[in-house]
């Protein structure tokens, strides 16, 4: 479904991503692992259109989307949950979700159904529907941004470090939700520093190092490779 070829991303003179090739098949959960600064988040941001692609191609179902703006990429079916839990703090939970369904705003029934569905999946959001998003706890905000990405009915969900800054119990809950989405057939590209958790739910994984893919394989292969563990996963 998603194929990235020779992707390069730069921050000025600094090459953050230096020719990365990854692929995600329909219904798969693919993890992207690696240390800080490895280029994982930059890759996701480039796929979502939030970062300019210096060179390379990004194919979604065969269509090259590398040069599209972020607002056009989400219409193609790529929804991203960024690393920093970018809730719109002064908007209510419901307003955040309505914004998530912005591309379907003319279809009120579809928007309403999508919001009801995510509120059923993330029950705490229903309880906090009229609360300002900035007043939610970290875990609740993480659930909100995932729900907000889901209401756009994406073909593929990009998750950037969903466990960042969360307590272990909340991390377990978030990964439980990710597993549930996977079981429902959602295609997911997951960037995580919590490699152990990510490999437990992933089908395949890529390991990034210094802007390049250092290794790839099934989740079990990556998990059992002690060389990779030591060098790239900080163990």
């Amino acid at each position: 479904m998603l194929r990235v070829e020779s992707l390069q991303v730069r921050y000025g003179a600094i090459a953050a991503v230096k020719g990365v090739d990854i692929a995600v098949r329909r219904g798969e959960l693919v993890a992207v692992l690696g240390a800080n600064g490895a280029g994982k988040s930059s890759t996701l941001l480039a796929i979502a259109g939030a970062l300019k692609v210096a060179s390379g191609r990004i194919f979604l179902e065969g269509e090259d989307v590398a040069s599209l703006t972020p607002e056009r990429i989400v219409r193609k079916g790529i929804a991203m949950v960024p690393e920093t839990r970018n809730v719109f703090a002064d908007l209510t939970v419901t307003e955040n979700l309505r914004l998530g369904a912005f591309i379907h705003r003319h279809d009120k029934r579809r928007t309403s159904a999508a919001i009801d569905e995510v509120m059923a999946l993330f029950t705490v959001l229903g309880e906090r529907a009229d609360q300002a998003a900035g007043t939610l706890s970290g875990g609740e905000q993480q659930q909100l941004v995932i729900a907000r990405a889901l209401v756009s009915d994406p073909k593929i969900l990009l998750l950037d470090e969903p466990s960042l800054g969360l307590a272990p119990t909340i991390v377990a809950k978030i990964f439980g939700l990710i597993e549930k989405l996977r079981e429902r057939g959602m295609t997911i590209l997951l960037v995580e520093q919590n490699a152990a958790q990510a490999l437990k739910c992933a089908d395949r994984a890529y390991v990034f190092s210094l802007g390049e893919v250092a290794a790839s394989g099934s989740a079990s292969e990556i998990a059992s490779n002690t060389d990779l563990e030591a060098i790239y996963l900080g163990k």
Binding site: A48, G49, P70, E71, A89, D90, F102
Partner: protein, 297 residues
């Protein structure tokens, strides 16, 4: 005594309403782009000259006013297209320069093609009428300013709260890139913000001209300065702050008008700015906090 109080309150409310609308027109763009539109004052000038050029036409004044306001809206959108869109992703300095340049262009166009001298604008009879409240003679124009501002602010607040456009504007003001990643079209939202800014400028122009009676190329300078100061003291990224700042600035201005002895009235602005400086020293971020976690576009 009661008469003075009534006069004072009406003066503060009417001037405050005008200042609040001026400030809102400026902050609606700043809130989203984090950039000041220095051509904002020229939107008021364009509305003024539109009214002047329509003078003598058989159109009712209200229709002339609507046309003048539409001209301000279109000029606002043109400002975005010419001075902001080509350079907004390059640097803040570039935008400052282009918006100053566009402002100068518009002023010089008025100088060249109309006149450097003041030109009288047509005003409705209602602006010259007065009403008596508890023995105090109040220009009807002042009451109209208050009513118009209240209605406009209420409609604007409703749009921001209840419509998808309003939610998108508030989201874009908070985190522009994230809003785009949800499908909010960047250029459209920014154009809408400039159009709303033009609408406020156009309406301000009608009441501002009602006080002055004529238009000159530099007519927009004072409203721009007022808008800027009101925005800064209210909180640069807060719509509520802009309104609060506008009324506070009016309160300071009118109070000084009432309290200063005759020989010091000419220094009223100095006193006003001194109080603004004191306010900012005590509360540099302004009176009202802006949207949380805002970021540059």
């Amino acid at each position: 005594m009661l008469g003075t109080i009534i006069q004072f309150v009406i003066d503060v409310l009417s001037l405050g309403s005008l200042y609040a609308l001026m400030a809102l027109g400026l902050v609606i763009v700043y809130g989203i782009l984090k950039m000041v539109n220095f051509a904002y004052g020229e939107l008021i000038m364009v509305a003024g000259y539109s009214l002047y050029l329509l003078n003598g036409s058989p159109l009712p004044w209200l229709v002339m006013a609507v046309i003048a306001i539409v001209m301000a809206i279109l000029t606002g959108m043109l400002t975005e297209l010419v001075a902001f869109r080509p350079v907004r992703e390059k640097s803040v300095t570039a935008v400052l320069i282009t918006s100053f340049a566009f402002s100068t262009l518009l002023q010089n166009a008025a100088l060249l093609f109309i006149s450097p001298r003041a030109r009288t604008v047509p005003l409705p009879d209602i602006f010259t009428r007065t009403v008596e409240i508890a023995g105090v003679i109040i220009p009807l124009r002042n009451l109209l300013t208050i009513v118009c501002a209240v209605v406009l602010l209420a409609v604007f607040a409703l749009i921001l709260k209840r419509t998808m456009l309003g939610i998108a504007l508030r989201a874009a003001a908070s985190q522009f890139t994230m809003a785009r990643m949800l499908g909010v079209p960047a250029n459209l939202i920014i154009s809408v913000a400039f159009a709303i800014s033009g609408l406020f400028a156009g309406i301000v122009a009608m009441f501002w001209l009602g006080r002055i009676g004529s238009v000159v190329p530099g007519i927009g300078l004072e409203p721009l300065l007022v808008a800027f100061i009101a925005t800064v003291i209210g909180g640069m990224r807060s719509l509520v702050g802009a309104v609060v700042g506008g009324f506070l600035l009016a309160l300071i201005d009118v109070s000084l008008n009432y309290l200063l002895p005759q020989n010091l009235l000419q220094f009223r602005d100095a006193f006003t700015f001194t109080m603004v400086i004191v306010l900012l020293v005590l509360r540099p971020e302004g009176l009202v906090r802006g949207p949380a976690t805002g970021q540059r576009t």
